[in-house]
């Protein structure tokens, strides 16, 4: 149990790190290649580069393409529908809810600035998650081992 909780904390940190990597992909596809968002999201999902984020981008891309909603709305819907599959806390989801809000609304220069801003935000979130994985994760692991040992002693 302790090990599982600890692994979940690690997964959370890795998920945030992955999203940070994805931002680099987005920056390249949007700012350098000039591809529209639905195509970028679609390519990201197809190329399996998205890891745990693949369903979110797949769904966002689909919504953007078919329902003609803006990126902010598409992202919010997709995040809400796939939240259960992501190893994130409610606080993380709250912070990520507005991620798509400014995407696609300005020129490349501004998009780059927006992505850089998101990168900084994610770096801070990841740092917090890493610390949590190290401290709380260790606590869970030790607690788990302790409880296991206690259970063995009781059984003996």
């Amino acid at each position: 149990m302790g090990m599982r909780l600890s692994a979940r904390l690690k997964d959370r940190q890795l998920a945030l790190q992955k999203l940070k990597d994805i931002l680099l992909f987005l920056e390249n596809e949007m700012c350098a290649m000039g591809k529209p968002l639905n195509k970028v999201f679609e390519d990201l999902a197809k190329g399996n580069y998205g890891g745990v984020w693949t369903p979110v981008f797949h769904l966002s891309g689909g919504i953007l393409k078919e329902q003609s909603l803006n990126a902010g709305s598409a992202w919010r819907i997709a995040l809400k529908e796939t939240a259960a599959t992501l190893p994130l806390t409610l606080e993380d989801l709250d912070l990520l809810r507005d991620f798509g809000e400014l995407l696609g609304k300005t020129d490349r220069e501004m998009q780059q600035a927006i992505l850089n801003m998101e990168k900084e935000k994610l770096a801070a979130m990841e740092q917090k998650a890493r610390e949590a994985a190290e401290t709380t994760g260790r606590l869970y692991r030790n607690l788990g081992a302790l409880m296991g040992a206690a259970a063995v002693i009781l059984l003996i």
Binding site: M30, G104, D107
Partner: protein, 359 residues
């Protein structure tokens, strides 16, 4: 007689429209929809449809009226929403187009946009506060150049350097596109083998590329340099693609004329268009006019409208008439004008000016 095949469907535009406008456009009768040339969507003013030579306001039930007070009015938010939809909610992906004042939509349609222009130094960086969008319905008329094609062939494997001229909205680009398709595909009927062709499509009007894919049929031997300025494009095409024919739209500057000469020096043929009323009008233009005549464009295709009927003629470099047809194949000739009012007179005057030299 060749029969031109018209393609282009309003439903391909309406899927991009905000819900309220879409409902109105979907209610337009198929006959009127097939004649619609432009849809003008301005914030705070009635929705307008432009036909060949006249325009009408569109009512909520999809009918047309001359009275703006009874027409369907478009809201400011709707124009903004339309703009974002046309950009696929990715303004950055269309920023070069936006700086040039239009967006090419999937299906080959072009949407002109107006708003507040943003400058960066001397260059236009973009546009904000979008106030109006004018969607031009692109219609391919496959076969509209079949009849004139034998007059621009100079053999089974070669063509004459050809210039298509007319005033605006008389069908130059449509004609050019079909000529390009025939050159590239070849024509069994005319005994012409297909040639390697490059289109330098500065304004994405000929091939109407969307994400790199030509939305119009330009033939199997055609390469498209999309969004590329003509002088650079012609040079790039000559260096990289070794074309037999280069197709360009709307020549008009001295640099364009120099590029055309460069292409001729490299042995490529040029098929181009230019805004002019007749060959005389074109000849008078400094730098550019010198291209017409001996050693220049050897064939001129002149398009125009007279008495509501479209006409087309082909002349040689000396102005000798080779072909004339008072009903250009496949091009609807604006019979709606017969029932029009108001702006009709202006449109008619503009187009009939093309006939000045004919009278």
């Amino acid at each position: 007689m060749y029969k031109a095949q018209r393609t282009g469907d309003l439903s391909r535009i309406s899927c991009n429209l905000p819900d309220r406008i879409k409902r109105v456009v979907d209610r337009i009768s198929p006959e009127m929809a097939s004649r619609l040339e432009e849809l003008r969507i301005n914030a705070g003013v009635p929705l307008m449809g432009v036909f060949s030579g006249f325009d009408r306001f569109i009512c909520e039930d999809g009918t047309f009226t001359d009275k703006p007070e009874t027409a369907f009015r478009v809201g400011r938010e709707e124009v903004e929403e339309l703009f974002y939809r046309l950009c696929e909610h990715s303004v950055y992906a269309y920023q070069e187009d936006i700086a040039r004042g239009f967006i090419t939509i999937k299906g080959g349609f072009r949407a002109g946009i107006c708003g507040r222009v943003v400058y960066q130094g001397q260059a236009i960086k973009g546009m904000k506060d979008i106030s109006s969008v004018c969607i031009r319905v692109s219609r391919e008329l496959k076969g509209c150049a079949e009849e004139i094609f034998p007059f621009i062939m100079s053999g089974s494997h070669d063509i004459w350097n050809t210039m298509v001229i007319s005033p605006p909205r008389c069908g130059k680009t449509t004609m050019l596109r079909d000529i390009c398709r025939i050159i590239s595909t070849g024509s069994e009927k005319a005994g012409f083998a297909g040639l390697r062709t490059v289109i330098v499509d500065e304004r994405s009007e000929i091939a109407a590329c969307y994400m790199g894919i030509a939305q119009n049929d330009c033939g199997p031997r055609t390469d498209v340099l999309d969004g590329c300025r003509k002088p650079e494009g012609i040079e790039m095409a000559l260096r990289g693609m070794s074309p037999a024919v280069i197709v360009v739209d709307e020549l008009g500057t001295r640099q364009d004329a120099e590029s055309v000469r460069m292409a001729w020096n490299a042995g490529a043929r040029i098929v181009a268009t230019a805004h002019a009323y007749d060959t005389g009008d074109l000849r008078e233009r400094l730098g550019f006019g010198m291209l017409i005549g001996k050693g220049g464009f050897e064939r001129c295709i002149v398009l125009g409208i007279r008495d509501g009927k479209r006409w087309v003629k082909v002349t040689d470099a000396y102005g000798n008439l080779l072909y004339r047809n008072d009903k250009a194949p496949g091009m609807h000739d604006g019979i709606f004008r017969m029932h029009g009012h108001g702006d009709e007179a202006v449109g008619e005057a503009e187009r009939q000016a093309a006939c000045a030299s004919e009278a």
